[in-house]
């Protein structure tokens, strides 16, 4: 519960949601926000949510995600969204900067998780 109620988590999740919505309603926003901000926010939000669920399952409040798992899940996301999804949907495109942003967000989450949550 500590994670879901944390302002950093809420703000980043809301930002991702707002950007996604404005993309849907085609609001005029700079292109770099559309292309890159959500990719950067994706991993911290997803990892935080996963950690919150795991803590709920294990009934502990002081477990943290190890680096191997962070990198593993990030690699999965990179493969899934940048290699697998472009093959079946035209909405997705492969971009090396996106992959970099995924890893940047993941490393950021890993380094600040003990201070925040």
């Amino acid at each position: 519960m500590k994670i879901i109620k944390h302002p950093v988590f809420i703000i980043s999740a809301l930002m991702a949601l707002i950007i996604y919505m404005s993309q849907r309603f085609q609001l005029p926003l700079p292109n770099w926000i559309y292309f890159y901000v959500n990719n950067f926010l994706c991993m911290p939000v997803v990892l935080g949510l996963c950690l919150a669920i795991i803590r709920r399952l294990k009934k502990t409040e002081n477990s943290y995600v190890p680096l191997v798992v962070v990198l593993g899940l990030t690699t999965y996301f990179a493969i899934y969204f940048e290699w697998f999804m472009p093959q079946i949907s035209t909405r997705y495109t492969t971009d090396i900067i996106d992959i970099g942003l995924y890893y940047l967000g993941a490393i950021l989450f890993f380094s600040i998780q003990k201070r925040l949550f």
Binding site: Y20, V46, L47, L49, C50, L51, I53, I54, L57, K58, S63, V65, P66, V68, V69, G72, L73, Y76, F77, Y80, F81, M85, S89, R91
Partner: protein, 133 residues
């Protein structure tokens, strides 16, 4: 006679067989005093306020007997579980000390809570792509 009407045939008969003293007859038939009169299932002797038969030592108390039965049942259950565990160990138990390092690592990964973490993450990825597309 009014006293005896309230008693069962067995109790009255027993009164005369077991304890024929005049005093005892007039104290005994009161219902509240009969509460703990138990006939020993083994030797037939009547006991008053005793957990074990004064004659042969058989356990009389209903409560105690039930407690002992529960304890025995619990012990049996634990023993059965132990045997079950020994005869059919789980996949993890069987392979955690496997002679190949690859198998040991694989089993450890599968067994850890972070596997669930990855599964939740994968589910979220699928969910996001399903909503967006």
């Amino acid at each position: 006679m009014q006293i005896f009407k309230r008693l069962s045939y067995d109790t009255v008969a027993n009164l005369f067989i077991q304890d024929t003293s005049f005093n005892r007859i007039f104290v005994f038939p009161l219902k509240r005093d009969m509460a703990n009169q138990i006939k020993c299932p083994n030797c037939g002797v009547y006991n008053t306020n005793e957990d074990y038969c004064t004659n042969c030592g058989t356990l009389l108390s209903y409560q105690k007997r039930r407690e002992l039965a529960f304890a025995q049942e619990e012990k049996d259950r634990k023993k059965r579980a132990q045997i079950q565990k020994e005869t059919s160990p789980s996949f993890y138990e069987k392979n955690k000390n496997h002679r190949f390092l690859v198998v040991r690592i694989f089993v450890k990964i599968i067994h850890s809570i972070w596997m669930a973490f990855m599964a939740i993450g994968m589910f979220i990825a699928w969910l996001v792509s399903a909503i967006a597309a």
